[in-house]
């Protein structure tokens, strides 16, 4: 058993190193070597797919701070990776990092990929980061997902700009219970 463990460790250490950019010093400081190698590999993959990588690093750091075992951290980072992929698939290849992160948060808040894709469809030129963030914020304030989505999508269909979404948020948030 000890040999098998040693072999696993050796295999992990002998893996080709992730590219230098993936070797985040924060990960090196907070994760054990086995976990770090795998998280860095995921970060490298995300970068290869042109997905934002900071959410992956942050998820790993969160796990470390919460005392999660290495395997759980890797699983959680993979899950975050999958969320970002779903968000990008819903938004399309042209989505920017902020939009992807906002869409991933909206999905976690209860939006469906269809909802996210719909926002992209009705707001093809404007960025969707602010509308999606406002949706997430309204849900955080206690508004029902469907109601929040109707409000945001209707404004998007009317061609509202970022300021209009922020104004919408100001109008609705007190009504649903400001924090």
């Amino acid at each position: 058993m000890l040999r098998m463990t040693a072999l696993l460790l050796c295999l992990a250490l002998l893996r080709p190193p992730a590219d230098a950019a993936a070797q985040d010093p924060r990960l090196a400081a907070r994760l054990d070597s086995l976990t770090r190698v795998q998280v860095e590999a995921l970060v490298t993959s995300a970068r290869g797919e042109r997905l934002p990588t900071e959410p992956l690093v942050q998820k790993a750091l969160e796990g470390a701070s919460k005392g999660a075992p290495g395997p759980h951290i890797v699983t959680a980072v993979k899950s975050t990776f999958a969320d970002l992929r779903r968000a990008r698939q819903a938004l399309g290849q042209s989505a920017g990092p902020d939009e992807i992160v906002a869409a991933a948060a909206a999905l976690r808040a209860g939006a469906s990929t269809t909802m996210v894709a719909e926002i992209r469809r009705v707001a093809p030129r404007g960025g969707v980061a602010v509308p999606l963030a406002v949706f997430t914020d309204l849900v955080a304030g206690g508004m029902a997902v469907d109601a929040a989505w109707r409000s945001v999508s209707e404004l998007a269909e009317r061609g509202g700009d970022d300021q209009a979404f922020l104004d919408l948020r100001d109008r609705l948030r007190p009504a649903v219970g400001s924090p």
Partner: protein, 371 residues
């Protein structure tokens, strides 16, 4: 001395604010050596499959459905089966709080012939990486399809081979017993240690106290080495006697929150008055109103998940001067070193570690979000 082969699987299904089910859990494969309390010979094979399902909070409580089936087999003698299905209500999260539960099932040799009912409850308390769990479980066996409560008979639970000494049990009814247990656990990164004791009241058998020391070493993602040693109580439903044992095995983790794995703290269901509340999130400051406390901390993606002390601002308000970029952020807060929680005003979502993390939005113009 006999050898035992054990296979166990625990699956976890969860929903929360996520639209889809999440599957997690563990599968344990192991073998060990046992010195039974009752003289016997031959090898014993045991298997168990358990699953739990947790939905979101309901009226401040977290309901959980549990089911399990186990079997034990001795070549040329018998195969015993026990199954149960029940539910639990947790007053708080997975690591701290109280719970009450009930289950029904069946047990017996060949096919479950005796009804099983169980009432149980427990208290959990987490202190940093350590956890303490105390529970009480009352198990009753009733008449099944055979119409007999006479345990120790082949047509019911076939407990004859679980009883240490023919004179002690033959002809007696095992109607019910109560187990009082305690388990202390410690999670240290890739290592998990546990120590548990159980005291049995009622029932039968000379052995009334059980203990176990165990450890898990996560040598690779989703693969842990498990070792355990202890002295078990008779498992009446499976016709397995008590034994001194030592086992080694491999634990395979499925999904994000394996059973038995160390869990991150969950959001407590404290009263609305005492619950912390995120009241301000701007590009340069964060403010939270919380319960009376000596000190408060926050951690999030804006601190690289390093705990940072919040500064008291009077009237239960705590602030942190911090640069926050516009957009979506994640955070947890805690007061007086208690559990990390999600303040109201942030969306509590599964953090992937068995707990909750809060989502909140910082606006582009840095305007205050709350009052």
């Amino acid at each position: 001395m006999r050898y035992a082969i054990a296979v166990a699987a625990a699956l976890v299904l969860r929903t929360g604010t996520l639209p889809a089910l999440q599957l997690g859990g563990t599968v344990d494969l192991g073998a060990g050596q046992a010195a039974w309390d009752q003289p016997g010979s031959g090898a014993l094979t045991q298997g168990a499959l358990g699953a739990t399902y947790r939905a979101g909070a309901l009226f401040g409580l977290e309901p959980e459905l549990l089911g399990g089936i186990g079997l034990s087999s001795e070549p040329a003698e018998r195969t015993a089966v026990e199954w149960d299905l029940g539910g639990r209500l947790h007053t708080r999260g997975a690591r701290t709080g109280a719970w009450l539960g009930a289950a029904v099932g069946g047990a017996g040799v060949g096919s479950p012939a005796a009804r099983l009912t169980r009432l149980e409850g427990g208290l959990r308390q987490a202190i940093g990486p350590a956890g303490l769990h105390v529970w009480l479980s009352r198990t009753s066996f009733g008449a099944g399809t055979s119409g007999s409560k006479e345990l120790g008979q082949g047509d019911t639970l076939a407990l004859g081979d679980t009883i240490p000494g023919p004179g002690s049990m033959s002809g007696r009814r095992i109607v019910e017993y109560t187990d009082l247990g305690a388990r202390a656990s410690l999670g240290l990164g890739r290592y998990e240690l546990g120590l548990s004791f159980v005291r049995r009241v009622g029932g039968t058998g000379v052995r009334r106290t059980a203990w176990e020391a165990n450890g898990v070493w996560w040598v690779a993602p989703s693969i842990g080495l498990v070792g355990a040693a202890g002295h078990s109580l008779p498992q009446f439903g499976l016709a397995v006697p008590g034994a001194r044992y030592g086992t080694l095995g491999i634990r395979l983790a499925l999904g994000a929150a394996p059973r038995g794995g160390r869990r991150a703290p969950r959001e407590p269901a404290s009263s609305a008055q005492a619950a912390p509340r995120l009241v301000l999130a701007t590009t340069h400051r964060l403010a939270i109103v919380g319960p009376p406390a000596g000190h408060a901390e926050v951690m999030g993606d804006f601190t690289d998940w390093e705990p940072r002390p919040l500064e008291p601002d009077g009237d239960g308000r705590w602030t942190l001067p911090v640069a926050l970029s516009p957009g979506v952020h994640h955070l947890n807060v805690r007061f007086d070193g208690a559990e990390w929680t999600v303040p109201a005003g942030a969306i509590a979502v599964d953090d992937g570690f068995g707990g909750r993390v809060g989502l909140f939005v910082v606006r582009e113009d840095g305007k205050a979000e709350g009052r």
